[in-house]
Protein backbone atom coordinates (compact mmCIF):
# COMPACT_ATOMS: atom_id res chain seq x y z
CA UNK A 1 0.00 0.00 0.00
CA UNK A 2 1.40 3.41 -0.94
CA UNK A 3 1.82 5.84 1.93
CA UNK A 4 -0.92 8.45 2.13
CA UNK A 5 1.53 11.38 1.81
CA UNK A 6 2.95 9.82 -1.36
CA UNK A 7 -0.60 9.69 -2.73
CA UNK A 8 -0.69 13.48 -2.43
CA UNK A 9 2.55 13.63 -4.39
CA UNK A 10 1.04 11.44 -7.10
CA UNK A 11 -2.06 13.66 -7.18
CA UNK A 12 0.08 16.75 -7.75
CA UNK A 13 2.07 14.91 -10.39
CA UNK A 14 -1.04 13.71 -12.23
CA UNK A 15 -2.67 17.16 -12.04
CA UNK A 16 0.48 18.78 -13.43
CA UNK A 17 0.86 16.25 -16.25
CA UNK A 18 -2.79 16.69 -17.24
CA UNK A 19 -2.23 20.46 -17.30
CA UNK A 20 -4.75 21.20 -14.58
CA UNK A 21 -4.79 24.83 -13.45
CA UNK A 22 -4.09 23.65 -9.87
CA UNK A 23 -1.48 25.93 -8.35
CA UNK A 24 -0.42 26.57 -4.77
CA UNK A 25 0.82 30.08 -3.95
CA UNK A 26 4.63 30.29 -3.91
CA UNK A 27 4.45 31.83 -0.43
CA UNK A 28 2.63 28.73 0.86
CA UNK A 29 5.30 26.44 -0.56
CA UNK A 30 7.98 28.50 1.19
CA UNK A 31 6.01 28.47 4.45
CA UNK A 32 5.49 24.72 4.36
CA UNK A 33 9.24 24.25 3.78
CA UNK A 34 10.01 26.43 6.81
CA UNK A 35 7.57 24.40 8.89
CA UNK A 36 9.07 21.05 7.85
CA UNK A 37 12.65 22.18 8.51
CA UNK A 38 11.75 23.52 11.96
CA UNK A 39 9.67 20.48 12.89
CA UNK A 40 12.46 18.10 11.87
CA UNK A 41 15.02 20.20 13.77
CA UNK A 42 12.91 20.42 16.93
CA UNK A 43 12.29 16.69 17.04
CA UNK A 44 15.98 15.93 16.54
CA UNK A 45 17.03 18.43 19.21
CA UNK A 46 14.59 16.90 21.67
CA UNK A 47 16.14 13.49 21.15
CA UNK A 48 19.70 14.77 21.30
CA UNK A 49 19.08 16.36 24.72
CA UNK A 50 18.86 12.83 26.08
CA UNK A 51 22.28 11.68 24.92
CA UNK A 52 25.92 12.89 25.08
CA UNK A 53 26.94 14.93 22.02
CA UNK A 54 30.72 14.35 21.93
CA UNK A 55 30.65 10.72 20.75
CA UNK A 56 28.80 11.96 17.67
CA UNK A 57 31.79 13.90 16.29
CA UNK A 58 33.56 10.93 14.63
CA UNK A 59 30.18 9.93 13.15
CA UNK A 60 29.89 13.38 11.60
CA UNK A 61 33.34 13.03 10.06
CA UNK A 62 32.18 9.81 8.39
CA UNK A 63 28.95 11.28 6.93
CA UNK A 64 30.87 14.35 5.69
CA UNK A 65 33.24 11.99 3.86
CA UNK A 66 30.22 10.13 2.52
CA UNK A 67 28.84 13.35 1.00
CA UNK A 68 32.22 14.23 -0.53
CA UNK A 69 32.74 10.69 -1.90
CA UNK A 70 29.30 10.63 -3.53
CA UNK A 71 30.01 13.96 -5.23
CA UNK A 72 33.35 12.74 -6.60
CA UNK A 73 31.82 9.49 -7.83
CA UNK A 74 28.94 11.35 -9.50
CA UNK A 75 31.38 13.73 -11.17
CA UNK A 76 33.48 10.91 -12.63
CA UNK A 77 30.40 9.16 -14.01
CA UNK A 78 28.79 12.32 -15.39
CA UNK A 79 31.96 13.51 -17.04
CA UNK A 80 33.26 10.13 -18.22
CA UNK A 81 30.09 8.27 -19.18
CA UNK A 82 27.63 11.14 -19.55
CA UNK A 83 30.12 13.31 -21.45
CA UNK A 84 28.93 16.44 -19.66
CA UNK A 85 31.32 19.35 -19.59
CA UNK A 86 33.28 19.99 -16.39
CA UNK A 87 30.94 22.69 -14.98
CA UNK A 88 27.73 20.76 -15.69
CA UNK A 89 29.18 17.51 -14.33
CA UNK A 90 30.47 19.12 -11.13
CA UNK A 91 27.28 21.05 -10.51
CA UNK A 92 25.05 18.03 -11.05
CA UNK A 93 27.36 15.83 -8.95
CA UNK A 94 27.03 18.34 -6.10
CA UNK A 95 23.23 17.97 -6.25
CA UNK A 96 23.64 14.20 -5.84
CA UNK A 97 26.27 14.39 -3.12
CA UNK A 98 24.00 16.64 -1.06
CA UNK A 99 20.64 15.72 0.49
CA UNK A 100 16.95 16.49 0.16
CA UNK A 101 14.96 17.45 3.23
CA UNK A 102 11.69 16.49 1.55
CA UNK A 103 12.97 12.98 0.82
CA UNK A 104 14.21 12.72 4.41
CA UNK A 105 10.80 13.86 5.69
CA UNK A 106 9.07 11.17 3.62
CA UNK A 107 11.55 8.63 5.03
CA UNK A 108 10.84 9.75 8.62
CA UNK A 109 7.12 9.55 7.92
CA UNK A 110 7.50 6.08 6.39
CA UNK A 111 9.37 4.80 9.46
CA UNK A 112 7.08 6.51 11.99
CA UNK A 113 3.93 5.09 10.48
CA UNK A 114 5.47 1.63 10.94
CA UNK A 115 6.67 2.40 14.48
CA UNK A 116 10.30 1.90 13.50
CA UNK A 117 12.61 3.96 15.74
CA UNK A 118 15.73 5.77 14.50
CA UNK A 119 18.60 7.68 16.10
CA UNK A 120 18.13 11.37 16.94
CA UNK A 121 21.45 12.31 15.37
CA UNK A 122 20.00 11.57 11.92
CA UNK A 123 18.83 15.18 11.82
CA UNK A 124 22.40 16.43 12.40
CA UNK A 125 23.51 14.16 9.55
CA UNK A 126 20.82 15.80 7.41
CA UNK A 127 22.09 19.31 8.21
CA UNK A 128 25.76 18.41 7.83
CA UNK A 129 25.41 16.45 4.58
CA UNK A 130 24.06 19.49 2.74
CA UNK A 131 27.47 21.14 2.82
CA UNK A 132 30.46 19.01 1.70
CA UNK A 133 28.99 18.33 -1.74
CA UNK A 134 28.69 22.05 -2.47
CA UNK A 135 32.32 22.68 -1.56
CA UNK A 136 33.61 19.65 -3.50
CA UNK A 137 31.49 20.65 -6.51
CA UNK A 138 32.95 24.16 -6.56
CA UNK A 139 36.53 22.93 -6.13
CA UNK A 140 36.02 20.50 -9.05
CA UNK A 141 35.28 23.44 -11.33
CA UNK A 142 37.35 26.26 -9.92
CA UNK A 143 40.17 24.45 -8.16
CA UNK A 144 41.38 25.97 -4.94
CA UNK A 145 42.23 29.20 -6.80
CA UNK A 146 41.70 32.74 -5.66
CA UNK A 147 38.96 33.35 -8.22
CA UNK A 148 36.34 31.88 -5.93
CA UNK A 149 35.06 34.21 -3.25
CA UNK A 150 35.16 31.68 -0.44
CA UNK A 151 33.92 34.06 2.24
CA UNK A 152 30.78 34.86 0.29
CA UNK A 153 30.21 31.22 -0.58
CA UNK A 154 30.70 30.07 2.99
CA UNK A 155 28.13 32.64 4.07
CA UNK A 156 25.62 31.36 1.53
CA UNK A 157 26.34 27.72 2.35
CA UNK A 158 26.35 27.80 6.13
CA UNK A 159 23.69 30.46 6.55
CA UNK A 160 21.29 29.12 3.93
CA UNK A 161 17.75 28.85 5.21
CA UNK A 162 17.87 25.05 5.38
CA UNK A 163 20.89 24.88 7.64
CA UNK A 164 19.73 27.81 9.81
CA UNK A 165 16.26 26.36 10.38
CA UNK A 166 17.43 22.79 10.95
CA UNK A 167 20.20 23.72 13.37
CA UNK A 168 18.09 26.49 14.93
CA UNK A 169 15.16 24.14 15.49
CA UNK A 170 17.55 21.56 16.88
CA UNK A 171 19.05 24.09 19.30
CA UNK A 172 15.58 25.14 20.49
CA UNK A 173 14.47 21.52 20.92
CA UNK A 174 17.67 20.66 22.75
CA UNK A 175 17.55 23.68 25.08
CA UNK A 176 13.81 23.67 25.74
CA UNK A 177 13.22 20.01 26.53
CA UNK A 178 9.93 18.13 26.35
CA UNK A 179 7.97 20.16 28.92
CA UNK A 180 8.69 23.55 27.39
CA UNK A 181 7.94 22.19 23.93
CA UNK A 182 4.59 20.72 24.98
CA UNK A 183 2.53 23.84 24.04
CA UNK A 184 3.89 23.93 20.47
CA UNK A 185 3.80 20.17 20.03
CA UNK A 186 0.32 20.09 18.48
CA UNK A 187 1.49 22.43 15.72
CA UNK A 188 4.93 21.05 14.94
CA UNK A 189 4.63 17.35 15.73
CA UNK A 190 1.01 16.39 15.33
CA UNK A 191 0.40 18.34 12.13
CA UNK A 192 3.63 17.09 10.55
CA UNK A 193 2.00 14.49 8.36
CA UNK A 194 -0.71 16.84 7.10
CA UNK A 195 1.79 19.56 6.24
CA UNK A 196 4.05 17.03 4.54
CA UNK A 197 1.07 15.89 2.45
CA UNK A 198 0.38 19.46 1.28
CA UNK A 199 4.07 20.04 0.59
CA UNK A 200 4.24 16.87 -1.50
CA UNK A 201 1.16 17.94 -3.48
CA UNK A 202 3.15 20.99 -4.58
CA UNK A 203 6.24 18.83 -5.17
CA UNK A 204 4.16 16.72 -7.55
CA UNK A 205 3.27 19.85 -9.52
CA UNK A 206 6.90 20.98 -9.61
CA UNK A 207 8.11 17.53 -10.69
CA UNK A 208 5.53 17.39 -13.51
CA UNK A 209 7.15 20.47 -15.08
CA UNK A 210 10.48 18.67 -15.44
CA UNK A 211 9.15 15.99 -17.79
CA UNK A 212 9.57 17.96 -21.02
CA UNK A 213 13.23 18.46 -20.20
CA UNK A 214 13.71 14.75 -19.47
CA UNK A 215 12.17 13.85 -22.82
CA UNK A 216 14.69 16.19 -24.46
CA UNK A 217 17.70 14.86 -22.56
CA UNK A 218 16.86 11.20 -23.01
CA UNK A 219 18.00 7.96 -21.53
CA UNK A 220 21.20 9.01 -19.78
CA UNK A 221 19.45 11.40 -17.37
CA UNK A 222 16.84 8.75 -16.66
CA UNK A 223 19.43 6.04 -16.04
CA UNK A 224 21.66 8.26 -13.92
CA UNK A 225 18.66 9.53 -11.91
CA UNK A 226 17.80 5.96 -10.90
CA UNK A 227 21.20 4.22 -10.73
CA UNK A 228 23.04 6.96 -8.84
CA UNK A 229 20.66 6.87 -5.82
CA UNK A 230 20.89 3.06 -5.76
CA UNK A 231 24.68 3.24 -5.59
CA UNK A 232 24.52 6.08 -3.03
CA UNK A 233 22.07 4.15 -0.86
CA UNK A 234 24.42 1.15 -0.86
CA UNK A 235 27.32 3.36 0.24
CA UNK A 236 25.06 5.01 2.84
CA UNK A 237 24.09 1.58 4.18
CA UNK A 238 27.75 0.62 4.41
CA UNK A 239 28.51 3.79 6.42
CA UNK A 240 25.46 3.14 8.61
CA UNK A 241 26.74 -0.37 9.36
CA UNK A 242 30.17 1.05 10.28
CA UNK A 243 28.39 3.45 12.66
CA UNK A 244 26.35 0.60 14.15
CA UNK A 245 23.02 2.31 13.45
CA UNK A 246 19.65 0.72 14.21
CA UNK A 247 17.40 -0.56 11.41
CA UNK A 248 15.57 2.79 11.23
CA UNK A 249 18.87 4.71 11.26
CA UNK A 250 20.28 2.52 8.47
CA UNK A 251 17.19 3.10 6.36
CA UNK A 252 17.37 6.86 6.88
CA UNK A 253 21.09 7.15 6.19
CA UNK A 254 20.61 5.16 2.97
CA UNK A 255 17.70 7.46 2.10
CA UNK A 256 19.79 10.56 2.85
CA UNK A 257 22.68 9.30 0.73
CA UNK A 258 20.31 8.41 -2.11
CA UNK A 259 18.50 11.75 -2.01
CA UNK A 260 19.62 14.70 -4.09
CA UNK A 261 19.32 18.37 -3.22
CA UNK A 262 17.00 20.64 -5.15
CA UNK A 263 16.99 23.72 -2.90
CA UNK A 264 20.32 24.52 -1.26
CA UNK A 265 22.66 23.18 -3.96
CA UNK A 266 20.95 24.70 -7.03
CA UNK A 267 20.79 28.09 -5.31
CA UNK A 268 24.47 28.08 -4.36
CA UNK A 269 25.74 26.50 -7.58
CA UNK A 270 23.79 28.98 -9.69
CA UNK A 271 25.94 31.74 -8.23
CA UNK A 272 29.22 29.86 -7.68
CA UNK A 273 29.27 28.10 -11.07
CA UNK A 274 26.94 30.21 -13.23
CA UNK A 275 28.15 28.61 -16.45
CA UNK A 276 26.66 25.26 -15.40
CA UNK A 277 23.23 24.66 -16.89
CA UNK A 278 20.79 24.46 -13.95
CA UNK A 279 18.08 22.84 -16.05
CA UNK A 280 19.83 19.48 -16.55
CA UNK A 281 20.49 18.99 -12.84
CA UNK A 282 16.98 19.95 -11.76
CA UNK A 283 15.42 17.72 -14.41
CA UNK A 284 17.36 14.70 -13.14
CA UNK A 285 16.97 15.47 -9.42
CA UNK A 286 13.31 16.47 -9.48
CA UNK A 287 12.07 14.61 -12.53
CA UNK A 288 13.68 11.25 -11.81
CA UNK A 289 15.45 10.86 -8.47
CA UNK A 290 12.97 12.50 -6.11
CA UNK A 291 9.93 10.55 -7.37
CA UNK A 292 11.99 7.34 -7.55
CA UNK A 293 13.11 7.72 -3.94
CA UNK A 294 9.75 8.59 -2.41
CA UNK A 295 7.75 5.97 -4.30
CA UNK A 296 10.16 3.02 -4.67
CA UNK A 297 13.46 3.91 -3.02
CA UNK A 298 12.56 4.23 0.65
CA UNK A 299 10.77 0.87 0.94
CA UNK A 300 13.63 -0.72 -1.01
CA UNK A 301 16.32 0.84 1.22
CA UNK A 302 14.42 -0.39 4.25
CA UNK A 303 14.36 -3.90 2.84
CA UNK A 304 18.09 -3.80 2.14
CA UNK A 305 18.72 -2.34 5.60
CA UNK A 306 16.70 -5.17 7.20
CA UNK A 307 18.76 -7.72 5.32
CA UNK A 308 22.15 -6.30 6.27
CA UNK A 309 21.12 -5.33 9.80
CA UNK A 310 20.36 -9.00 10.40
CA UNK A 311 23.64 -10.20 8.86
CA UNK A 312 26.11 -7.94 10.72
Amino acid sequence: MIDVVVMFFLLGLAAGLMRSDLKLPAALYESLAVFLLLAIGLKGGLGLAQQPILPLLPQLALVISLGAALTLFGFVVLKGVGRLNRADAASMAAHYGSVSVATYAVGVNWLSSRQIAFESQMVIFLAVMEIPAILVGIVLVRGMGKDTQWGKLAHETFLGKGVVLLLGGMAIGWAAGPEELAPIKPLFFELFKGVLALFLLEMGLIVSRQFDEIKKRGAFILAFGVLMPLFSAALGLFCGLLLGLSLGGLTLLATLAASASYIAVPATMRLAVPEANPVISLAAVLGVTFPFNVVFGIPLYHRLASYFHGVF
Binding site: Y29, E30, I206, A267
Partner: protein, 102 residues
Protein backbone atom coordinates in the same frame (compact mmCIF):
# COMPACT_ATOMS: atom_id res chain seq x y z
CA UNK B 1 -0.05 75.05 -13.30
CA UNK B 2 2.63 73.86 -15.68
CA UNK B 3 4.64 70.86 -14.76
CA UNK B 4 8.38 71.03 -15.17
CA UNK B 5 9.90 67.70 -16.15
CA UNK B 6 13.37 66.59 -17.08
CA UNK B 7 14.54 63.62 -19.09
CA UNK B 8 16.16 60.67 -17.34
CA UNK B 9 16.74 57.06 -18.38
CA UNK B 10 14.87 54.11 -16.93
CA UNK B 11 16.96 50.94 -16.86
CA UNK B 12 14.87 47.80 -16.42
CA UNK B 13 16.39 44.34 -15.89
CA UNK B 14 14.22 41.24 -15.78
CA UNK B 15 16.16 38.28 -14.45
CA UNK B 16 16.22 35.16 -12.26
CA UNK B 17 15.25 35.69 -8.63
CA UNK B 18 18.28 33.56 -7.75
CA UNK B 19 20.69 36.39 -8.57
CA UNK B 20 18.91 39.10 -6.59
CA UNK B 21 21.38 39.40 -3.72
CA UNK B 22 24.44 39.36 -5.96
CA UNK B 23 22.92 41.80 -8.44
CA UNK B 24 22.00 44.27 -5.72
CA UNK B 25 25.53 44.08 -4.34
CA UNK B 26 26.90 44.88 -7.80
CA UNK B 27 24.47 47.77 -8.30
CA UNK B 28 25.49 49.22 -4.97
CA UNK B 29 29.13 49.05 -6.02
CA UNK B 30 28.24 50.86 -9.24
CA UNK B 31 26.92 53.69 -7.11
CA UNK B 32 23.22 53.07 -7.66
CA UNK B 33 21.38 54.19 -4.56
CA UNK B 34 17.72 53.68 -5.50
CA UNK B 35 15.85 50.94 -7.30
CA UNK B 36 12.51 49.15 -7.29
CA UNK B 37 12.17 45.37 -7.37
CA UNK B 38 9.01 43.48 -8.19
CA UNK B 39 8.24 39.81 -8.71
CA UNK B 40 7.75 38.93 -12.35
CA UNK B 41 6.44 35.98 -14.34
CA UNK B 42 6.63 35.15 -18.00
CA UNK B 43 8.01 32.98 -20.76
CA UNK B 44 11.20 33.33 -22.73
CA UNK B 45 14.28 31.51 -23.96
CA UNK B 46 14.54 29.74 -20.59
CA UNK B 47 10.99 28.41 -20.83
CA UNK B 48 8.06 29.19 -18.56
CA UNK B 49 9.03 31.22 -15.50
CA UNK B 50 5.81 30.96 -13.51
CA UNK B 51 7.14 31.82 -10.07
CA UNK B 52 5.57 28.68 -8.57
CA UNK B 53 8.71 28.21 -6.49
CA UNK B 54 12.10 29.85 -6.06
CA UNK B 55 13.81 28.19 -9.02
CA UNK B 56 11.22 29.39 -11.52
CA UNK B 57 10.81 32.90 -10.12
CA UNK B 58 11.85 36.09 -11.88
CA UNK B 59 12.33 39.63 -10.63
CA UNK B 60 12.15 42.98 -12.38
CA UNK B 61 14.61 45.61 -11.19
CA UNK B 62 13.95 49.20 -12.25
CA UNK B 63 16.16 52.21 -11.72
CA UNK B 64 15.97 55.77 -13.00
CA UNK B 65 19.39 57.19 -13.79
CA UNK B 66 21.20 59.88 -15.75
CA UNK B 67 21.81 58.61 -19.31
CA UNK B 68 25.58 57.95 -18.97
CA UNK B 69 25.16 55.95 -15.76
CA UNK B 70 22.25 53.98 -17.23
CA UNK B 71 24.39 53.08 -20.26
CA UNK B 72 27.42 52.07 -18.23
CA UNK B 73 25.24 49.96 -15.92
CA UNK B 74 23.62 48.26 -18.90
CA UNK B 75 27.07 47.49 -20.31
CA UNK B 76 28.11 46.08 -16.94
CA UNK B 77 25.04 43.81 -16.93
CA UNK B 78 25.81 42.68 -20.45
CA UNK B 79 29.37 41.84 -19.51
CA UNK B 80 28.68 40.07 -16.22
CA UNK B 81 25.23 38.53 -16.49
CA UNK B 82 24.02 38.02 -20.05
CA UNK B 83 26.18 34.95 -20.79
CA UNK B 84 25.17 32.76 -17.86
CA UNK B 85 21.92 34.11 -16.47
CA UNK B 86 18.47 34.59 -17.87
CA UNK B 87 18.31 38.36 -18.22
CA UNK B 88 16.59 40.94 -20.38
CA UNK B 89 17.62 44.56 -19.84
CA UNK B 90 16.63 47.70 -21.69
CA UNK B 91 16.62 51.49 -21.51
CA UNK B 92 13.73 53.90 -21.89
CA UNK B 93 13.54 57.65 -21.72
CA UNK B 94 11.28 58.83 -18.92
CA UNK B 95 10.20 62.28 -17.81
CA UNK B 96 10.61 62.95 -14.13
CA UNK B 97 9.91 65.76 -11.75
CA UNK B 98 12.30 66.38 -8.86
CA UNK B 99 15.14 65.51 -11.21
CA UNK B 100 17.74 66.04 -8.50
CA UNK B 101 16.59 62.73 -6.97
CA UNK B 102 17.89 60.77 -9.96
Amino acid sequence: MTIHTELRTLLTAITEAAVEQVLLRDLQQLGIKAYTISDARGRGMHGLRDGAWGKSANIRVEMILPRPQAESTLLFLQEHYFANFAMVAYLQDVEVIRAEKF
